[in-house]
Amino acid sequence: MVPTTSYLALSGILFALGMIGVLTRRTAIMVFLSVELMLNAANLALVAFARSWGDPTGQTAVFIVMTLAAAEVAIGLAIIVAIFRKRETTNVDDLAALKG
């Protein structure tokens, strides 16, 4: 059977990809999706650990995290849409009025 470490490796890669996405993507949507990716990396890690410890807590935790992620999507999209309505853009680089 597959060892826990490889699951962790995968989740690590996913997390890294998410981070890179956050750093590189310009549109709010994509940034946000990369964040989701990071969350799923976390989920994967949780599941893997749960399996290695052989106790269900971790897996239940995953469900909760998923729920939170969903809630986040709802709020996030709402905000993004609201902004898009006003400015016809979701390019985060256009939002730099507040600085210094």
């Binding site: 981070m19 956050v22 750093l23 310009r26 940034v31 939002l95 730099a96 009025a97 507040l98």
Partner: protein
């Protein structure tokens, strides 16, 4: 002796006069203030006389604790000490002081600040009495600086010029110039005294370090017993010498004394001739128990005195201000006294102090009378032939001149002779200087006399004889100047050294053993010096060549000592002050600069706060990555 009036009355009486006149001047219209002040000094004189008449062992009266830990394992108390020396000084101060107060009532009669003048005079007398009666150096220092303060106030008495409200522009301008020079003179006197005072203080500190007390009687005892490094005593004595030099206008701190003539003439007579300036001599005499142990320091004293005597005499040769001549002569005579005490001939020194007090006060008061008579004219070249206008004053001046010139039977002769004898006994060069100075003294006093009194009147305006109130002190002083010498007739003249014996009870005498023949010789030389000096002056007078004395500019500018100090001390220190000021503001700015740079990073941070959300994400996630990396490295490090 309970019935005797307490010593503190001596300074207290004039001090009361000062306080009353200062706080409630309105209570004293007209000249009443002057009479009050005079009365106070007179009362003090009476006290002094009473104490003198029934004087036994030295009296020591202490009052209250004053300075922490400065006596032996105790706090130093305010206390007064009356022995022969201080009794004599007290008599001089109150006696001469009284006469001069009397004189001033008439002399300052027309001055708008009449009452304040007498307040200051009283203050001076009080401080001077504290100085001489003090039982401890710190208390003596109180009087010491107190008289300095009084002299500051009195030199600067006309700080705004004598007619500052004058309408006439020219008069006003002259008065303003006078204001500045008066103020400067006063300040100069105080600061130069301060330099001396620092020396005095250091001396006290060192004495305390050596003996653990500053009370004079205690010191006098401990000096016998205590084993301390010779160098220590020498140094302490030198420090004290600095103090004495500052107060007595000796070299190198002499230049303030001639300037001090800016004050009213009675002030010059009382403070800058008779009493205050002799404080240095008193200090050395009072500390005889130290100087006896410090031969080198004593030699220093003697030489300072000798050189100053010479300096004063040379500077006096070609002055044209009637008071300046007397001032330089004072410097020179003080030199004599230092010479004497430096040679441990304390009695001789103090004796000269006494006689000098009489004849120099006399001369100054006479000069004052002249100045008054000529309406504030002070230039001797504009005088002459005054003996016709003011015979009485002329008479007393003659007495003064003869006294200072050292012509026999006049007091100066005896005191100067004693000093010269002591000098001859111990160091020939000093003796020669002394003799030379005697000659010069006779000359410039002769010059003074002939220029003022003889010849034709060169001024304009109508001189008038002084009034009675002025004549009384003049007369008394003239009598004293003439007769005081007989207090101390030397043995070879069949005298009994009455004065030496008296002082000797306070200060052990070093009876000098010179063969009578030599003494005669010395006396003859001294007299000759005086006679030749006067003769020289007379001849010059005949040739009408007195107006400009010998040595020309060199003497007139008193050997350029002032210029030297200005360039070497005053100017540089002013420059340094400026530099420091800039530096201080500079350090200030520098610190601000530091502060500004400290907020410089703040600027960086605001730049960093670029507003781009992705930039923020970068710093966030890079931060995370860095931290994780750090952990990874650590775990690997610990793993491997």
């Amino acid at each position: 002796m309970d019935s005797l009036p307490a010593l503190y009355l001596l300074p207290l009486l004039p001090l009361l006069g000062f306080a009353v006149l200062m706080v409630l001047p309105r209570l004293f219209p007209g000249k009443t203030g002057g009479w009050l002040a005079t009365g106070m000094v007179g009362a003090a004189f009476i006290v002094a006389v009473i104490r003198y008449l029934n004087q036994g062992a030295p009296a020591h009266e202490t009052l209250w604790a004053w300075l922490p830990n400065m006596a032996l394992n105790a706090n130093l108390s305010v206390g007064f000490w009356l022995d022969q020396l201080s009794a004599l000084m007290a008599l001089i101060i109150t006696g001469v002081g009284f006469l001069i107060h009397l004189y001033s009532i008439s002399y300052m009669g027309h001055d708008p600040k009449f009452t304040r003048f007498f307040a200051f005079l009283n203050f001076f007398v009080a401080m001077m009495l504290i100085l001489v009666l003090a039982d401890s150096y710190p208390l003596m220092f109180v009087g010491w600086e107190g008289v300095g303060m009084a002299s500051y106030l009195l030199i600067g008495f006309w700080f705004n010029g004598r007619n500052s409200e004058a309408g006439d522009a020219q008069v006003r301008a002259a008065s303003d110039a006078e204001a500045i020079s008066n103020s400067n003179a006063a300040r100069k006197a105080f600061i130069m005294n301060r330099i001396g005072d620092l020396g005095f203080m250091l001396g006290m500190f060192l004495l305390f370090k050596l003996y653990g007390t500053l009370s004079i009687p205690e010191l006098a005892e401990r000096v016998e017993g205590a084993q301390v490094a010779q160098a220590g005593i020498e140094l302490a004595c030198l420090f004290l010498l600095v103090g004495a030099v500052g107060k007595s206008g000796q070299l190198p701190l002499t230049t303030w004394l001639p300037d001090a003539m800016a004050g009213p003439t009675p002030v010059s007579a009382l403070i800058h001739a008779a009493t205050m300036v002799t404080a240095g001599v008193y200090l050395v005499a009072r500390s005889h128990f130290l100087y006896d142990l410090a031969p080198n320091a004593s030699t220093w004293v003697a030489w300072v005195g000798g050189l100053t005597a010479l300096y004063g005499a040379l500077s006096a040769l070609n002055q044209s201000d009637i008071k300046k001549i007397l001032a330089y002569s004072t410097v020179s005579q003080l030199g004599y006294m230092f010479l004497a005490v430096g040679l441990h001939a304390y009695s001789a020194g103090v004796f000269h102090l006494l006689t000098h007090a009489f004849f120099k006060a006399l001369l100054f008061l006479a000069a004052g009378a002249v100045i008054h008579a000529l309406h504030e004219e002070q230039d001797v070249r504009k005088m002459g032939g005054l003996h016709r206008f003011m015979p009485f004053t002329h008479l007393v001046s003659v007495a003064g001149v003869l006294a200072i010139a050292g012509i026999p039977i006049w007091s100066g002769f005896f005191s100067k002779d004693a000093i010269l004898a002591a000098a001859y006994e111990q160091s020939l060069p000093l003796y020669l200087i002394g003799l030379g100075v005697a000659l010069l003294t006779a000359f410039y006093m002769g010059r003074w006399y002939f220029l003022v009194w003889r010849g034709a009147y060169r001024g304009h305006g109508h001189p008038h004889e002084a009034d009675t109130l002025t004549k009384i002190p003049l007369g008394v002083l003239a009598a004293l100047a003439t007769l005081a010498g007989f207090l101390n007739i030397p043995t070879f003249l069949g005298g009994k050294h009455a004065f030496d014996d008296y002082i000797g009870r306070a200060i052990p005498l070093h009876a000098h053993e010179i063969p009578v023949a030599t003494e005669w010789l010395l006396t003859v030389f001294a007299v000759l010096a005086g006679v030749i000096g006067l003769g020289w002056a007379f001849l010059a007078h005949r040739r009408g060549a007195l107006a400009t004395g010998p040595l020309g500019e060199l003497s007139r500018n008193s050997l350029y000592l002032d210029a030297l100090y200005d360039n070497v001390v005053s100017a540089p220190s002013r420059a340094i002050a400026g530099a420091l000021d800039t530096v201080d503001r500079g350090t200030d700015d520098a610190l601000n600069g530091v502060a500004r740079n400290a907020s410089g990073p703040g600027g960086l941070f605001t730049l960093w706060q670029s507003g781009f959300v992705r930039a923020y994400a970068v710093s966030m996630l890079l931060g995370t990555a860095a931290i994780i990396g750090y952990w990874a490295l650590k775990t690997i490090g610990s793993g491997a």
